[in-house]
């Protein structure tokens, strides 16, 4: 089936389960194909290469894995409380989509593409201007903690509600990564929902991607086997957030 017609069906929300059985929880409901794209179904792994299970995730720590491309970072965060459900979000052009909520035992685990939808700041092996601020802390970008902030231009996003914009110049949410947990309690990533910025990212960061991934082709390679999840301060040498 062509991707386009698949999206149409997704939009109607009817045949979703039949077509895409791994999305049992029915995460997505975008009214526009642009806002949803499925990629390889990829198992998340811990630093030792073992399948990632919820018990090793610490609450309120920013973890990073690269998905759906070898060079596109995503945040994985286990919140201190269950995420909200069925959140209506809009991209900059006004298209609506629905973010279904968190996954895992208490629906606390969420994942987002860690490329700021404003000006594409993102964690790289040298540094990160993006990260999660724990509840009891505060940053310049927002009056409260429990938020993802981009220190580059001081946008703040709410991880409990699909990374909705709380403050700053960003005009749309961070794209979310569709996760599911299998019977053995292992996390999988399978799709991207919301305004993903991969095209602009590859265009804007050619020199940087060459530096870290040897060439642009390698940077654009789709992740297929497993994605290793690392704490942000391991993924990036320096986390620059204030």
């Amino acid at each position: 089936m062509e991707r386009r017609s698949f999206f149409k069906i997704c939009a109607k929300g009817t045949l979703l389960v039949a077509i895409s059985p791994f999305l049992i929880e029915g995460y997505l409901k975008a009214d526009d194909g642009r806002l949803f794209k499925s990629f390889n179904r990829v198992k998340l792994l811990d630093c030792y290469g073992n399948p990632l299970k919820e018990e090793i995730l610490q609450e309120e720590v920013t973890y990073v894995f690269n998905y759906p491309y070898a060079s596109t970072p995503c945040f994985l965060i286990k919140l201190s409380e269950p995420a909200a459900k069925e959140i209506k979000l809009r991209d900059e052009e006004g298209s609506e989509y629905i973010w279904k909520g968190g996954v895992g035992k208490d629906k606390k685990v969420v994942a987002y593409s860690a490329i700021c939808p404003h000006q594409l700041a993102h964690p790289n092996p040298n540094e990160s201007f993006l990260g999660y601020i724990p509840k009891e802390k505060k940053s310049m970008a927002y009056k409260e903690g429990g938020v993802i902030v981009c220190a580059s231009h001081l946008s703040a996003f709410d991880p409990k509600t699909g990374a909705k914009v709380l403050a700053g110049p960003a005009k749309e949410p961070m794209a979310s990564i569709i996760l599911d947990v299998d019977e053995e309690g292992v996390f999988w990533a399978s799709a991207v929902l919301g305004p993903a910025k991969f095209f602009d990212y590859f265009k804007s960061f050619k020199p940087e991607l060459k530096e870290f991934y040897k060439n642009i082709r390698k940077a654009k390679k789709l992740v297929s086997l497993g994605a290793v999840v690392k704490p942000l301060d391991v993924y990036s040498k320096e986390v620059v957030i204030y």
Binding site: H153, A167, P169
Partner: protein, 449 residues
């Protein structure tokens, strides 16, 4: 049969040649007029618009955002950006380049790339007049017709208070001691001055009114002092400030002046220059100070770019002369509903910074797109995010983050959700220094990618 341009040129050339043999001088005048008019009627060499045409005059931080996002929000709109410069040079972060903390390449960007990436036309020309009745923009490269016009020409300097109409003094100040707040040659001259400085006082000034980039003179003073200290130059920066105190990020700059540059910065607040003697290289202030200087960069008051006055859409604001006379929520000219003004020509008391102008450009693009597409729009506050370096190696910076709200009673805009980070010491200052570079990279991506 209609005459082609080539024919007209030929005829005017022949007429001009003929007239030189004639004896009547009045005939000569007529011929000159004819030959001139044959150029004047030319349209600019641009393709026919494929939709409503919006002409944006000025490719700075606001104009570039308007052009890009207008095309994004209303793809059927035909957007032409007219800019007199052929290369973009960033004023934000230029203070770091003055003391070699970043290279020139970091500041320079390519208009062609911006236009190509965002599907509008970049037209490299200088606008000298606009006919609002026939909706035509007159440039040195021909006439461009518009349906809607956006004026984002930025600032001009207003030397009046110092020169009182003395054009010789004004020209000398502009050419020998440029302010360095309109990028290009002014900045090159200033950089050379800093590099070649041997000893004595280096005078900098902070103007009154709502001048471009409130923290920049203090940042510049700090960085030149840092450079002097590093290079072992026996000199100091004398910062003459018309304002009663540091205008923004006061604690951060104050502590930097006192703790890092005690012997390198002499700060004179609440001081208006009453006399500039360029022969003696001496300035006098209303506080009675007489300061001899080895070199200087005089930053005068600013005003709206003169184009606004030519077009008839300017008015003195509460802060500066001849700024845009617009509705503060729609940016629409009060004199002409087809004209919008944005960026540093705005009369509202927002910070005249790159970030503010850029975020305003996003809003103005949304406003015009909604007019063209027949949609509604909601006003949203411009955003001021502004980092200032206080030292180099490593770069340490302080910052401010704010939005604006309208006070209906007082009829003014005030800061909303404002926060500052003024601690340049320790890890926090270094992180802000990195944030400063990252901020700029993101903004350049916004305008050019």
């Amino acid at each position: 049969m209609a005459l082609s341009r080539r024919d007209l040129l030929k005829i005017s050339a022949i007429l001009a040649a003929t007239s030189s043999f004639g004896s009547e001088s009045s005939k000569k005048d007529v011929d000159i007029k004819k030959s001139i008019s044959s150029y004047r009627v030319q349209n600019a060499p641009l393709p026919k618009p494929k939709g409503p045409r919006v002409v944006v005059v000025g490719g700075g931080w606001s104009g570039l955002a308007v052009a890009k996002y207008l095309k994004k929000f209303s793809p059927k709109t035909d957007v032409v950006l007219i800019e007199k410069r052929s290369v973009f040079v960033s004023c934000p972060l230029s203070n770091l380049w003055l003391v070699d903390l970043i290279d020139l390449q970091f500041l320079t960007h390519d208009y062609l790339q911006a236009a190509q990436n965002n599907e509008y036309i970049y037209f490299n020309a200088t606008v000298y007049d606009i006919d609002r009745v026939s909706k035509k923009v007159y440039t040195n490269e021909g006439i461009v017709s518009y349906d809607y016009l956006v004026l984002a020409p930025g600032i001009d300097y207003d030397y009046e208070e110092w020169t009182n109409g003395n054009m010789e003094l004004e020209t000398k100040l502009k050419s020998l001691y440029p302010a360095g707040f309109i990028p290009g040659s002014e900045h090159f001259t200033l950089k050379r001055k800093i590099e070649e400085f041997e000893e004595g006082n280096f005078v900098l000034t902070v103007p009154g009114g709502n001048y471009r980039c409130l923290p920049a003179p203090y940042e510049r003073a700090s960085l030149i002092a840092w450079y002097m200290k590093k290079e072992g130059i026996k000199g100091k920066v004398v910062l003459i400030d018309e304002n009663p105190d540091i205008t923004i990020k006061k604690d951060g700059f104050n502590s930097a002046f006192n703790e890092l540059y005690k012997d390198y910065i002499e700060y004179l607040p609440g001081s208006k220059i009453t006399d500039i003697d360029l022969d003696k290289k001496r300035v006098v202030t209303d506080m009675g100070d007489e300061i001899d200087f080895s070199d200087a960069s005089f930053y005068p008051r600013i005003r709206g770019a003169k184009l606004l006055e030519i077009v008839g859409v300017a008015k003195d604001s509460a802060f500066n002369k001849k700024e845009a006379d617009i509705d503060p929520f729609t940016y629409q000219s009060k004199a002409d509903p087809y004209i919008y003004c944005t960026g540093d020509v705005r009369p509202m008391g927002f910070s005249k910074s790159g970030n503010t102008a850029n975020s305003e450009g996003h809003l103005v693009a949304k406003i015009i797109a909604s007019v063209i597409e027949g949609k509604e729009f909601k006003w949203d506050s411009p955003i001021t995010v502004c980092y200032s370096a206080v030292s180099g190696d490593p770069i340490r910076a302080i910052s401010v983050n704010a939005k604006y709200a309208y006070d209906k009673k007082k009829k003014v805009f005030t800061f909303k959700d404002a926060s500052t980070m003024e601690n340049w010491k320790g890890k926090q200052g270094i992180m802000s220094g990195k944030g400063l570079l990252e901020w700029a990279k993101g903004m350049y991506r916004d305008m050019f990618m």
